[in-house]
Amino acid sequence: MKRLPVQSAVFAFAIVLIVWELAAWRIGNVKLLPPIRHVCGHSLASFARFSGGDSNSLASGFKVILYHTGITFIRVIIATTIGCLLGLLLGLLSSFNSFSRMAANTCLPLLRNVPLLALTPLFVFWFGGNPLGIYVWIAFASFVVMVTATVSSIANINPDLIILATVLGTRILTRTTRVVIPAILPDVVTAYQATMGLAWSFALGGEYLVARSGLGFLVSYSYIYADMGKLLFLVMLYGGLGLLTFEVTGYLGKIVCPWNVSAHNEIRKK
């Protein structure tokens, strides 16, 4: 019987949980590797301490998690979207003439080769404890990913499509809106999908260092108090949120580019 992708994911997740539970039972030290029921029970409830609530109540802990997830989520969505739009715009502008193309080809390899997370302290320094710094940092990192993807995608457009549009009388602006943008759209959607996944790490980097709220702030405090249960809970939460945004953006991508069938899907059909 053919196994569906969802079934495979559940199966893989179940194996991870079993291995975790067995390892925790074998180690027998809650401070080193707590079992799942401890993480989802005691650790979750103790998040309530961040708001001064009842640390024995799962609901209070859950409320705190929900509040901080919401804050990070808003930061990720707003900053990533702004960064990606700017990256797309600048990438498109780079295709207009040879000077902008040359400028892009010189600057982008520089930016691309700098480990983005290594730049986090710079933004902390520039913006101090201001949450605006987190937005700017996520937007900048998303911008770098998107502008690189856009420029390389434009370079890979089938030149015959441009020639066809030109011969059929399409002018430069119409050519950009009706040929260049649709031609790069599948790559842009994929880059946006990847950036949304990465944005959670960018947010973690920023919040970890400066924020007084958000999931990165929770990670920071859990680390200070060496609370392995909370850290593991947050790891799972980050994983779940990353997966959720990846799937949602992937679904949106299918709506935006209905003509685009990935080779992966074709192989899966066979």
């Binding site: 020639i163 011969v167 059929l168 009388g169 649709p182």
Partner: protein, 260 residues
């Protein structure tokens, strides 16, 4: 005489000693077209044959305005700076994000025709290229076979309402039966429309069957222009007739000898 130009010229394009050179990244120069003199008359169906690298596609690109002459000149009827051309690529180039309907009427949308006119034209074009509008208009290019894509590309080119239709090996990669069908369709299209066609092909039979004149090219030069005197409409039987066989021999000789 091959390279002779008439003074009372009433054609739509004329090349006089046209030369096109290519420069490689290493700075080496190669010849695309060398001293080509040729005139294209209105309602001509000119077919161009030659070996790979003989300058066929360069000639097509020059006529499409995608290349400039490095020496010699190209002039168009009524002192136009360039012709309104449509180009059909051998790789079935269609816009993959557009449906068949949107591809067919792309030239109309560029010139901002009304939505109603676009819909009407798309429906009629789909019929003209031998596809059922109900079944095909809403499909994407990836859902079409090679032959179907070619028909849609041809429909799009025709809808550009061009002075000159340039076809770059339009039947390459098709099996014999589909090739014959496509050729029949092309001839009908040419007879029913007022369009002038220049078609590049590797296939001597195709060149002789479809063309009014066959231009044989060798190393960037015009080796010979063969007049095809077979009456139209040309039938399936004409393919196997003695006249066509003799013409094919003449074209083959011109290609082998390079016009010397």
């Amino acid at each position: 005489m091959v390279n002779e130009l008439t003074n009372d010229w009433s054609g739509i394009a004329r090349l006089r000693n046209a030369t096109v050179r290519y420069s490689s990244a290493s700075g080496q120069e190669s010849i695309g077209l060398s001293d080509v003199t040729l005139q294209i008359c209105e309602r001509d169906f000119l077919t161009v044959v030659g070996k790979s690298g003989s300058g066929k596609s360069t000639l097509l690109r020059l006529l499409a305005g995608l290349h400039q002459c490095d020496a010699g000149e190209i002039s168009f009827a009524k002192n136009k700076k360039r012709l309104k051309t449509a180009l059909l690529f051998q790789e079935n180039v269609l816009f993959p994000w557009m449906t068949v309907e949107q591809n067919l009427v792309y030239p109309l949308s560029v010139r901002r025709a009304s939505r109603q006119e676009q819909q009407k034209t798309a429906y009629q074009s789909c019929l003209d290229v031998g596809l059922s509008p109900e079944a095909y208009l809403h499909r994407y290019p990836r859902e079409l076979s090679g032959g179907e894509k070619r028909r849609v590309a041809l429909g799009m080119a025709v809808n550009h309402d061009a002075d000159l239709l340039l076809l770059d090996e339009p039947s390459s990669g098709l099996d014999d039966v589909n090739k014959w069908r496509f050729q029949g369709f092309l001839e009908t299209l040419w007879r029913n429309s007022r369009v002038t066609i220049v078609m590049v092909t590797h296939d001597i039979e195709e060149a002789a069957f479809l063309g009014s004149r066959v231009v044989c090219m060798d190393e960037g030069r015009v080796a010979e222009v063969v007049e095809i005197g077979i009456e139209r409409p040309r039938t399936f039987q004409d393919r196997f007739g003695n006249t066509l066989i003799e013409l094919k021999k003449r074209i083959a000789n011109a290609l082998i000898s390079g016009g010397t």
